[in-house]
């Protein structure tokens, strides 16, 4: 039978039931009448003929039912009946329904919220045509993997044509460009740009809506200055005009010719608005790693194959270069993994946590349903006595639980939607791929599907349990048992106890996890970063142009800028540098003069005078750098306490000379520097790690090579200490900096407190969510314990009455109930402690300043849980102790 005709039959049967029923009646009547006619014709009397015909026909009702059962859509109709009946049942017990729906909404809502974030960040494929074949190329060393690549490696990778269809280099947007339509333009705008090799657009499948992308010639050295624009920038600068092609655009101090515009949907990572040909010199032997490399695997090449191939390529690469001892190897990983980074791990942990919450909700609801099913035993016994099969009753109960979970799912969806917005509003989270303010986190069909699946699975999971156990029960005994109220059936109470125990143990796991993370965040906030971030404003400025390729130009800008800034009312001190204290990532080797064999490594930064006073970094010995430490004057350097401790443990470092960046190429070579001061440590490696040795050199005393390599890839950061709220000075400070720089805009204007908050925002996000989930778990578990004890007391009223009549006092009764409830709680706690050790091990990487077996967490969480459990059993226990034996016995 075709689907259409079947669907038609179902519809017809459903909506024209009356008509079809009366036609059936007519048909049967005609049949009997004709049979009667036959018999009369054969000579029977009229009444005799009718009687025998009816007898031969058989039970009319049964025949009709047999016909109905054949009709299409009968099952649907039964389902509809079940649903309507279930709905009425639920409507008549609003407290129960509300409790179940609220519990589920919490569980499902939390899951929806987290899933929508996990989906956006981790699960969704990248929005490129061949996203599953795009890989990031990595350098693997014993210290870990690294995406920063130099030209010789890139050149080697491009030759691996047996596995790659395309290999391209691009950089991480660097400092940004000051863009204007003509040089006289007074107020340029700063945009992010990417230097990319010619194949970049092919690899990412970037749609070109106007013009073209770079030719191989344009991407070779001296290939000319051309630029490809993003859709938005094209709209902004050229109003979407076709005539934009061939126009000139000033990036910094250089004119570029616009050759193409990319489609609106193309989003690169990192985000950018202009693309400029890299023009790498392939013969270059410069080993300075300053860009990333992505590859498009040939169809059919697996990651494992690619990795095996790359390992061989690495060996060969080093052999050709006579680097026998090199332990560096090559590898690939999916580009998505490299973009997500370690955010994926914390999200997966959160997802696990939120699943636990859902499990607890399910256990709780299963418990509530069991109670209800027990109370309805008599109803089901009567139904089966009237001929309802076991399956029919299971189906009825399942229908009800699915209605409940659907209601829970809808409320959960709403809750989840509000929840995820609220969470992202509270905490920017610092997550990759979530778009601006989390706009990429949306409730789409994937999330809807997930919620639907979760609702259905939970509905069936928690519904099946009670349904099966109810329908199993012996008809006779339940009819009898339901008449009296003499305690719950043994098997039932065992299931319920198991549910409560598992609920409590899961809640304990959540509590221990939250306790550990909360202790971590306290430990982190208690860490003295080594500087004062309060009342400091930070502003970024991209230095474009020939002048800033030289140290003198940058030093002059720093000097003039600082002069202007210090004249602004409310500014206490200011400095210009390429790093903030928690972001110093560059490292350089150094050698102490007079110790020929010792090589040291340290973090390295350059700054204008004033940095120490802006951040209130203590000067422990010697002097700060000042305006007299300029090019031409004796070279000086400041070291931090960590470096002093490590390399000058028993001597005075002041006056010692070190040579920095030896063997790093002629551009970075410089003369020895004298150590003139020792400064306090800052957590230059993240708050959770020990400060590393660091050297600070005056901005004005570095080689042109340093200056060039920094202004090309990083913005200059102005840091300003203010006397009051730094926000009030933003306008004045920005204006002075624009004047000092001859028109450069400042961007990413933030207070240092905001920068600090951002750096720990993902951890705070995880901690906040874990704490919320822990609280929800605790709440649900206590409801669960309360529920089972309250119910058991209600069921055992008679027994308690008899005990009292036989002489048990109220204290003993209370003790009995409390003990019974607490035994469950304790079993759950014991089980939970074991499981919590497992969890703590899993999240060990997120912990700081606290052991994964932290005694405080492992003692406080069980204590909190036990006290809440005690409270939850105390109420029913008190009620039990107030049972009036006379009343109860009389009631029977």
């Amino acid at each position: 039978m075709g689907f259409c005709s079947r669907a038609w039959s179902i519809l017809r049967n459903f909506f024209r039931k009356q008509q079809i029923e009366s036609q059936l009646d007519d048909e049967i009547r005609a049949y009997v009448d004709m049979m009667t006619d036959e018999r009369i014709a054969a000579g029977m009397s009229k009444s005799e003929a009718r009687r025998t015909s009816l007898a031969e026909f058989g039970g009319i009702t049964q025949v009709k039912q047999a016909v109905r059962d054949q009709r299409a859509g009968t099952k649907l109709e039964i389902l509809w009946q079940d649903a309507r009946f279930g709905w009425r049942q639920l409507w008549y017990s609003p407290a129960f329904t509300l409790a179940v729906v609220a519990t589920l909404a919490l569980g499902i809502g939390a899951n929806t919220a987290i899933f929508s974030i996990v989906d956006a960040v981790v699960l969704k494929p990248l929005a490129y045509p061949n996203a599953d074949r795009i890989v990031q190329l990595l350098l693997i060393s014993p210290h870990g993997s690294n995406t920063n690549t130099s030209i010789p490696e890139f050149h080697n990778w491009q030759q691996q044509t047996s596995i790659f269809q395309e290999v391209v280099a691009y950089d991480r947007t660097g400092p940004g460009f000051n863009i204007s339509e003509d040089l006289a333009g007074d107020r340029p705008e700063q945009v992010h740009g990417i230097h990319a090799t010619e194949g970049y657009f092919r690899l990412f499948g970037a749609p070109v809506i106007l013009g073209r992308t770079f030719t191989p010639k344009e991407d070779s050295p001296h290939g000319g200055k051309v630029v490809v624009l993003s859709y938005d920038l094209w709209q902004r600068k050229f109003g979407g005009s076709q005539k934009a092609i061939g126009k000139q655009l000033w990036l910094g101090k250089d004119p570029y010719t616009v050759i193409g515009v990319l489609g609106k949907k193309f989003a690169s990572d990192p985000e950018a608005e202009v693309w400029i040909p890299f023009q790498l010199e392939h013969a270059d032997t410069d080993e300075n790693p300053f860009f990333q490399v992505a590859g498009l695997l040939k169809p059919g090449i697996t990651l494992a194959q690619a990795n095996a191939h790359m390992k061989l390529a690495a060996t060969q690469f080093h052999r050709v270069r006579h680097e026998e001892d090199s332990r560096q190897s090559f590898a690939v990983e999916p580009l998505r993994d490299s973009i997500i980074g370690d955010a994926g791990r914390s999200l997966r942990i959160l997802w696990g946590a939120v699943s636990l919450v859902l499990l607890i909700s399910c256990a709780n609801v299963a418990n509530l349903l069991l109670v209800r099913a027990t109370a309805r035993r008599r109803e089901f016994a009567i139904r089966s006595a009237l001929g309802a099969g076991r399956w029919r009753i299971v189906r009825q109960l399942l229908t009800e639980s699915v209605i409940l979970s659907a209601a829970g799912g809808v409320s959960g969806l709403v809750l989840g939607f509000i929840g995820v917005r609220a969470l992202l509003a509270i905490s920017p989270a610092g997550l990759p791929r979530i778009g601006e303010n989390g706009t990429a986190v949306v409730i789409d069909w994937r999330v809807l599907g997930f919620t639907l699946a979760v609702s259905l699975v939970t509905g069936i999971l928690f519904g099946l349990f009670p349904a099966l156990s109810t329908s199993c029960s012996d008809l006779n005994s339940s009819l009898k048992e339901a008449g009296k109220r003499s305690g719950t059936g043994f098997r039932q109470s065992k299931t319920r106890s198991l549910l409560v125990i598992s609920e409590v143990s899961l809640a304990l796991v959540m509590l221990v996890g939250s306790a550990l993370l909360i202790r971590t965040s306290f430990a982190l906030s208690g860490v003295n970063p080594g500087f004062d971030s309060h009342n400091v404003l930070t502003l970024e400025m991209s230095l474009n142009g020939e002048r800033f390729q030289k140290t003198a130009g940058v030093a002059q800008l720093a000097r003039e800028g600082n002069q202007l800034l210090r004249a602004v009312a409310g500014v206490e001190s200011s400095a210009a540098a390429f790093w903030l204290p928690i972001q110093v990532i560059d490292g350089l080797p150094f050698q102490v003069i007079g110790r020929p064999l010792e090589h040291g490594g340290s973090r390295w930064m350059s700054t204008s005078p004033g940095y120490l006073s802006v951040f209130r970094i203590p000067l422990l010995r010697g002097r700060d750098v000042n305006d007299h430490d300029v090019a031409g004057s004796p070279l000086v350097v400041l070291i931090n306490q960590a470096l002093a401790n490590q390399y000058f443990p028993n001597e005075n470092p002041l006056g010692k000379q070190i040579i920095i960046g030896k063997n790093m190429g002629p551009e970075l070579a410089e003369d020895p520097r004298e150590i003139v001061g020792v400064v306090g440590d800052t957590h230059n490696n993240g708050l959770g790690r020990h400060p590393e040795p660091m050297v600070i050199v005056p901005l004005a005393q570095v080689t042109n090579g340093y200056t060039e390599s920094y202004t090309d890839f990083q913005p200059l950061i102005w840091v300003v200490r203010t006397r009051s709220d730094p926000h009030q000075l933003i306008a004045g400070v920005s204006e002075q900096l624009r004047i000092a720089s001859g028109g450069f805009p400042v961007v990413h204007v933030r207070t240092m407190d905001e920068v600090m908050g951002r750096s720990t925002s993902r951890e705070s996000f995880t901690t906040l969510l874990f704490a919320i989930f822990g609280a929800v778990a605790l709440f649900l578990a206590s409801i669960g314990i309360y529920g089972i004890m309250a119910y058991s007391v209600a069921q055992r009223t008679q027994e308690i009455g008899i005990r009292m009549a036989l002489g048990a006092d109220r204290g003993a009764i209370r003790k009995l109930v409390v003990w019974q409830g607490m035994r469950l709680a304790m079993a759950g706690v014991a089980l939970g402690i074991g499981m919590a050790f497992g969890l703590a091990h899993l999240i060990a990487g997120f912990l700081f300043g606290v052991h994964s077996w932290d005694p405080a967490a492992f003692v406080s969480a069980p204590l909190i849980l036990s006290s809440v459990a005690l409270l939850a059993v105390w109420l029913p226990a008190t009620r039990a102790s107030k049972v009036d034996p006379i009343e109860t016995l009389r009631a029977e």
Binding site: Q23, A30, M34, D37, G59, V67
Partner: protein, 110 residues
């Protein structure tokens, strides 16, 4: 005395109904009588099995029905084969023949 009756095999009823309707439309009792006649009284189809079968086959699209007048002018529901029903009759006939031949062979084998 009626001849000895046989229980309808599962699936035979459909075939018999289709066969009975082969020559033309019949009402319920007519079908029942016709089956009795063509099987020489071996199969007596009771309303309890006939009605559900008719309705099922109608929904399957093998039969169509209309209200008409019986030979002694009673209003009755008549059934007739649809095109699909005629096809189904051929299919089931052939199937049955195969089974019957096979069963006969099997039972005659020594």
């Amino acid at each position: 005395m009626r001849p000895k009756q046989t229980n309808l095999l599962q699936g035979t009823l459909d075939l018999l109904v289709l066969k009975a309707l082969g020559p033309g439309e019949l009402h319920g009792l007519g079908i029942s009588r016709r089956i009795e006649q063509i099987t020489q009284g071996t199969f007596l189809v009771k309303p309890g099995s006939l009605f559900p079968a008719l309705h099922r086959m109608e929904e399957a699209g093998w039969l169509s029905s209309f209200w008409g007048e019986s030979e002694n002018s009673r209003r009755a529901k008549f059934y007739q084969l649809t095109k699909a029903g005629k096809g189904q009759l051929e299919v089931e006939k052939e199937q049955w023949m195969r089974i019957a031949v096979a069963m006969t062979k099997a039972l005659r084998a020594t």
